[in-house]
């Protein structure tokens, strides 16, 4: 998430942390609740130098959405899930852009659509990777396996 990217390409950076939050919120909702998502968002604010709370509120909303929709989404195929992820990330970006526009004057543009698109494309890769880790280390026995 802080890996340096050329200035011209910065709009294409996927929201990696939000994807992780969505994944955790869907795999282990009883361990990864709203407070955890909120704390992750706060840490993300610190790292991104944004005003405290901007990402926190967005992450919490995304976790809330993930908790609400995961019984439906987890049965979908990857490309269908990606559509949902696109929507989630768009909601996240609109919210955090709006909030950061309220607390610090900054212009926002249509960058967030590219961000959401890149994140949606990354989602299947991320899920396959994290699932293989989960299987390799037998995490599915400790975490309630409902994904």
């Amino acid at each position: 998430m802080v890996i340096p990217i050329d200035f011209e390409w910065r709009g294409l950076r996927p929201e990696f942390v939000v994807l992780l939050v969505i994944y955790w919120a869907m795999v282990a909702p009883q361990y990864f609740g709203l407070l955890s998502a909120w704390l992750v968002g706060l840490l993300h604010d610190l790292i991104e130098f944004s005003p405290l709370g901007v990402n926190a509120i967005g992450m919490m909303i995304v976790a809330y959405l993930a908790h609400m929709f995961y019984p439906r989404i987890r049965h979908y195929v990857f490309w269908h899930q990606s559509l949902w992820i696109f929507t989630f990330i768009t909601v996240f970006s609109i919210y955090s852009n709006w909030v950061s526009g309220l607390v610090s004057q900054r212009e926002s543009d249509f960058f967030f659509l590219f961000t959401a698109l890149m994140s949606a494309l990354l989602w299947p890769v991320l899920v396959l990777m994290l699932k293989s880790i989960q299987i390799r280390f037998r995490l599915s026995q400790t975490i309630h396996n409902n994904y």
Partner: protein, 276 residues
């Protein structure tokens, strides 16, 4: 809502009241952070938490630099050596001129009874992180308060002024670049010493000049250097070059766009200037 979440309902506050509580806390945080300075000391302590992330994301860059250092062929080193020797020769000859010019400048200043410009002490630092948000122009350098870095210290690269330090931890420091849209720097034109203010607009390759009247003597290609007004930046470091001037008769002021002299997006080695 699914079954696992229902588990939460048996103990503690309900799911919805958690949402409300967290939203209220967040709004309080945002309002306090926006309108007061109370969070600043907390924030500068917590900034330490961000350092390992930047340190880790910098590892590939450091590895590739290290490999570049190790895997040079003899010819390449010799060619580079030759180039550097030539560069030193050219610069030494310029320096000779410089010595006489400095002496002359000093004499003239003494004649005018103005204070002398003292040679500034500098510390070389390396960038270890760049803000991932395209609209926040901040960098992290690998020197901190243990090396004597302080808030407000100017940051340069080999080509010009880059920005200023805004937050310090023991081993790192955060610097705001001159192109961030919350940054402004007092400058003057070298050709005629006209003073203006150059503001960042959130674009790494662009600065804008504030309040330039249509009668001001300013041309495309003029070099802007720091004027030292405001006491934060030292005098005479190159800041930008005027790229485009648009006089619109309907507007009170002209739109002036300048290109920063420092290579804000590619300099890895930077200088921190001690003004005292």
């Amino acid at each position: 809502m699914g079954v696992p979440i229902k588990l939460l309902f048996t103990k503690g506050p309900s799911y919805f009241s958690r949402v409300v509580l967290l939203v209220i806390i967040t709004i309080a945080l945002l309002v306090v952070g926006r309108y007061t300075q109370w969070l600043d000391p907390v924030r500068s302590k917590l900034d330490v938490l961000a350092v390992p992330f930047y340190w880790a994301s910098d590892i590939p860059e450091r590895v590739s630099l290290w490999l570049d250092d190790r895997l040079l062929s003899r010819q390449e080193i010799q060619a580079e050596n030759k180039l550097l020797r030539n560069q030193i020769r050219v610069q030494e000859s310029r320096l000779q001129q410089m010595a006489s010019l400095v002496a002359e400048n000093l004499r003239l200043r003494q004649l005018m009874n103005s204070s002398e410009i003292v040679q500034d002490r500098v510390l070389v630092a390396e960038l270890i992180g760049v803000s991932p948000d395209p609209l926040v122009h901040k960098v992290i350098v690998d020197k901190g308060s243990n090396d004597g870095i302080y808030v407000g210290q100017p940051l340069l690269d080999a080509f010009g002024l880059m920005g200023q330090v805004v937050s310090v931890t023991p081993y790192t420091a955060q610097a705001l670049l001159i192109t961030d849209n919350s940054h402004a720097i007092p400058v003057q034109i070298t050709r005629n010493n006209v003073r203006t203010v150059a503001e960042g607009v959130g674009d790494l390759y662009e600065l804008r000049l504030r309040y330039v009247s249509s009668t001001m003597d300013i041309k495309e290609g003029d070099i802007l250097v720091s004027s030292g007004l405001g006491g934060r930046f030292p005098v005479g470091y190159p800041v930008a070059q005027i790229e485009k001037i648009t006089f619109d008769p309907g507007e009170a002021f002209a739109t002036v766009i300048a290109k920063p002299a420092a290579r804000l997006d590619r300099s890895r080695h930077v200088l921190l200037v001690f003004s005292e």
